[in-house]
Symmetry: C2
Subunit: 710 residues, 2 copies
Amino acid sequence: MDASDLNVFFRPKGVAVIGASRIPGKLGYGVVNNLIEHRYNGPIYPVNPGADKILGQPAFASIQDVPNPLDLAVIVVPAAAVAGELEACGQRGVKSVIIISGGFREIGPEGAEREEQIKAIASRYRIAVLGPNCIGTIDTHTPLNTTFVTGIPNPGHIALVSQSGAIAAALIDWARGAGVGFSRIVSLGNETCITEADMLVAIAQDERTEVITAYIEGVSDGRTFLDVASAIARERPIIALKVGRSSSAMKAVASHTGALAGSEAAYNAAFHRAGVLRADKLEEMLDWARALAWQPLPRGNRVGILTNAGGPGIMALDALESYGMQLAPLSPETKTYLKKRVPAAASVGNPVDVLAGSGPATYALCLDALLADETVDAVVVIAAPQDWFAPVSLAEVVGEVGNSQLGRRKPILAAIMGLASTSDATQVLHRRRIPNFAFPERVGSTLGAMWQRKQWLDSLDTEEKLADRPTPDRAAARAIITGYRGWLPDAPRDALLNAYSIPIPPAGLAHDGKDAVRLAEEIGYPVAVKLSASRLTHKSDLGGVALDIRDETGLQAAITAMEEQVARFQASGQDIGTVEGFTVQRMEDGQVELIVGAVRDTQFGPLVMAGLGGTLVELRGDVAFALAPLSRQQADDLLDRTHAGRLLDGYRGNEPADREAAIDVILKLSQAAVDFPDIAEIEINPLIVKGKGEGATAVDTRIRVTPQDG
Amino acid sequence: MDASDLNVFFRPKGVAVIGASRIPGKLGYGVVNNLIEHRYNGPIYPVNPGADKILGQPAFASIQDVPNPLDLAVIVVPAAAVAGELEACGQRGVKSVIIISGGFREIGPEGAEREEQIKAIASRYRIAVLGPNCIGTIDTHTPLNTTFVTGIPNPGHIALVSQSGAIAAALIDWARGAGVGFSRIVSLGNETCITEADMLVAIAQDERTEVITAYIEGVSDGRTFLDVASAIARERPIIALKVGRSSSAMKAVASHTGALAGSEAAYNAAFHRAGVLRADKLEEMLDWARALAWQPLPRGNRVGILTNAGGPGIMALDALESYGMQLAPLSPETKTYLKKRVPAAASVGNPVDVLAGSGPATYALCLDALLADETVDAVVVIAAPQDWFAPVSLAEVVGEVGNSQLGRRKPILAAIMGLASTSDATQVLHRRRIPNFAFPERVGSTLGAMWQRKQWLDSLDTEEKLADRPTPDRAAARAIITGYRGWLPDAPRDALLNAYSIPIPPAGLAHDGKDAVRLAEEIGYPVAVKLSASRLTHKSDLGGVALDIRDETGLQAAITAMEEQVARFQASGQDIGTVEGFTVQRMEDGQVELIVGAVRDTQFGPLVMAGLGGTLVELRGDVAFALAPLSRQQADDLLDRTHAGRLLDGYRGNEPADREAAIDVILKLSQAAVDFPDIAEIEINPLIVKGKGEGATAVDTRIRVTPQDG
């Protein structure tokens, strides 16, 4: 989809409404009415064979009769008639069509068939189709409103891309009530042709749009979304509200959209990589959008709080710290300056508490001083209700300083608290592009999001290219994988690790106790012994692993115990597959045990995982994910996102471990997952990381292969 | 403080305002004005020696001149004059006084001295003083408004107790704007006499109050708060917004209120025990308050969702699941009933999606059916904006069914989405006591809070008495502890554990290698050896522990290594205290390693901790806290609040461990902490819990003693 073509959906030369109606309440009436009422200033062509005029506009019997200029058609006819009308659009040469009508994939097989028809017609005529089953588009600046939804938000700088028409409609209604401006709104419907990624690109080209918000249930194609979002986020913030976190919600999404779900971990990893800010709630998304549209990013995470009461200052501080912000220390000069300008009992530490008796002038002086202080990266201005000055006076002052030379360099968020007495003040602040909150709680997540974006942008500058990728023996690896399906047996698994130069402990496969003793003597005690059987996965749970065996007696005892265990399995009919023997392995010892792995996500492809290893990994869930391939820096960051990072650095007086070796293994494993889509899953647990310069060893590895078609 | 006396602060017979003023903008003007304007219908007595009349009311030169009925005085004079006026109140026999004036403890030593004076006068005359440095009280039903803050909320059923006047003032302004009703509001100021606990009791006696909300920075006395809140919460929900979570916020609280902070863990444990619902944000507190005041509690956590669009249903589901609620399965009868009453393409699974074409009548039928379904404990009704019926019609229908015989038995929350077109609908719903939300996101935390309260109330019924407490040898324990300060050496520590029958491994103290070998042979290999030195705490970090020693050679080597380590410590000047020798201990083996402990909180006293043990406890932080003493059930619940619970039950095919033995140790340790306030800290890590019926052993224990005065 060429994004510049999609601009027609927001700025057409002429719009036909196929299925236009004279009857209020019908969708085909609503669309024409919205085009007229919200002052679209190009020609509007109602198409309805039974009408001469609709809402004062001359009507046409068919799209064929509509004159130029015409580049956008909105179809609102019953589902069964849509294909015919789309075909007619194709013949008329209309290349952009919004299908509002429902009755397609969302209603079952019959509808899905209709949708296929539409897809074929669109492809034949090269028509860009938005929908079906959507509410259309809004551009408040053109202005254009192709929806049937009552009302339109004020012109603004926030765009919305929504995979739910209902949410888009509710947001339009909310935005009108709250006075929040939007630039463009698009509801995607079933995404038969145009996807969320296409529309992100189209909207990113709109000069009036400063922030893009997105309501997302799932993406059409993970890697395309990633590429598109990464590119756009360099220029403009993207904030996503991704629903379907819980298991039953994921099921509901699947039945709602039929899209491949993709795991939550993969979405988070993709958003993290692409610099997409993930909001938890609509309110949060809208808070962030306003702040990011209106205010500069903070250079750092140190906040100055200016307040006239203690409680709200503490409230702000709680909120800020829980999102990674901290109190600015304030320079001695600032404190000295403030001391002379506030009441004697006031606090000139941070939070700066000017007390209830201070008014707009004191706020002006203190805000200016905080903005001038080099230790301050952002300022939160709080005011509890006072009856001796009007909140609007304070708003004017904060607005003025905020738009001064100093004020434009650092973000300012305000909490002139309350509601009944503060609506004027909020309006003044919003006109001056300073977000105001009824209570200072929401400033935390908002500044946190701005700071997150700043860090992401900074990371782009320092990011190395992916040039220094590992250079594995791919031919050998391919030969090993080919033909397998399921968990790899020990030998090919170890060969694959060798092909990627991932160190494994010296080991061998013994058939019986005698054999094992011989092997152990070669390898050197202490050793570990593992039962090698093709269907035994969680070995340690089933008596299939004996560790730290220090001599022959211990070894013999362990083998005997395992042989008995196998006999029990067989007696009880438990299927552990073919028993290949006993792997005797050198017992590895190191500083830190990690788990590292890769899984193939249905949407985003290979997803790399790292965290603290051991048997409790699945219970603790202390692992982090990133999309492959990774740069060295990204692998390093991945380790820091769990407790593994601190442990590798030498926790509580321990020697630091060989973090570089751990990163090498992560990169190699990531590379293997990228090289071979057949690898569905790799897990090394534990990866024993030794002292600095001493390397890391993959002690236990599981690899599952699922041959991909093609 | 007798709570029935405190009722005077909300329903006085006559109110004097000392410091009443004729000048608008002065606080003494605001108070008189609010009493008159908000229609207090008892006598109002302005006291001002320089005025005849104030705002139409005859003024008095002094409190002595004020006639009866008079039982409440509000003092708004400069700080230096407050003591004199309070003394005059005492002489006049006024027993309830609100001191609005600031300039006391909050401004430093000079103010603190004035506050002491006030305290002394109050005590001498037995005056109940609210404040100083507060904004006073509101009762919307009396009506009474002793504050100077502009405006008053509508009469309602929510009370607010606030430790910040600014937050109270902001909430009053917000409530007026949002149309939320309150019953009573009180700002506590410096709490010189009347504390938050006193006011909670007073407000709990108000029949109009159905829910109590509290803005809390810290409590005056932990155990009093706990007792008071527990008793009240049996009758009425208490929702607390406790600020000061972050470290710097705690510092700010301390400097703001001078109160002892108490740890976050202790507050959470206290709220948990007392059934106080802890909200994270004001918005959440107000959401919960309305729902708890208006709707019945759910009997279980299974929710029916009724919607006309897929997206918002998914959004609700995400929110609900993240607060422990789940989808109701719906009975086959309900599905059959619904199938006949909704469009063919609609979903009669849960969420029930009636699609965009369904109106109020369909909602009425479906809502009724969900309420009648035994699998449904609560219903969320969602509507995306439609242009073919008015939101208010839907609100009427939901309101009517919600107040029917069926509707009154189960909680209903609504999300008639939007803002511009929904304010009438919201008003209708709120009149019918059904909370409406602009988006369905907030229903999750709200129903979650209601469900949490239901579970707490249920737990009261099943809670055993604390009768079956352990019966330790307290005399022996007292003899051991007396005279110590700091970490207990190994011998008295083990004696203390013995006095409480907490099992420890067989062990002995060896002076050298030979001695150690003799001991190990007595105890039996494998053994562990620990360096015993009075100032060595984190032994394993410093080479002070050797585990799993299996024979004499190993033991000798371990002792030699430790002797060398001690020599290195001494050479480097590191102070590890007196070296007592080497503790040789039987190496214990079990199913699960726990950490259990107790610390003394400055506010709430002994706080018991439990979680997964090991060396990474401090990094992982997987521990939970509860206030001592505990019932057996509470100790059991404590274990379930971390991963320890699942591990004890037999994680991933492991045999279950001896949970009862772990609970015994927790109860004994809790008892020790209760018995001896001198015990500042006990920590057992690891407590090795063996197989079922095999017990648990405290392998490594640290006990710190801090003699308490008195």
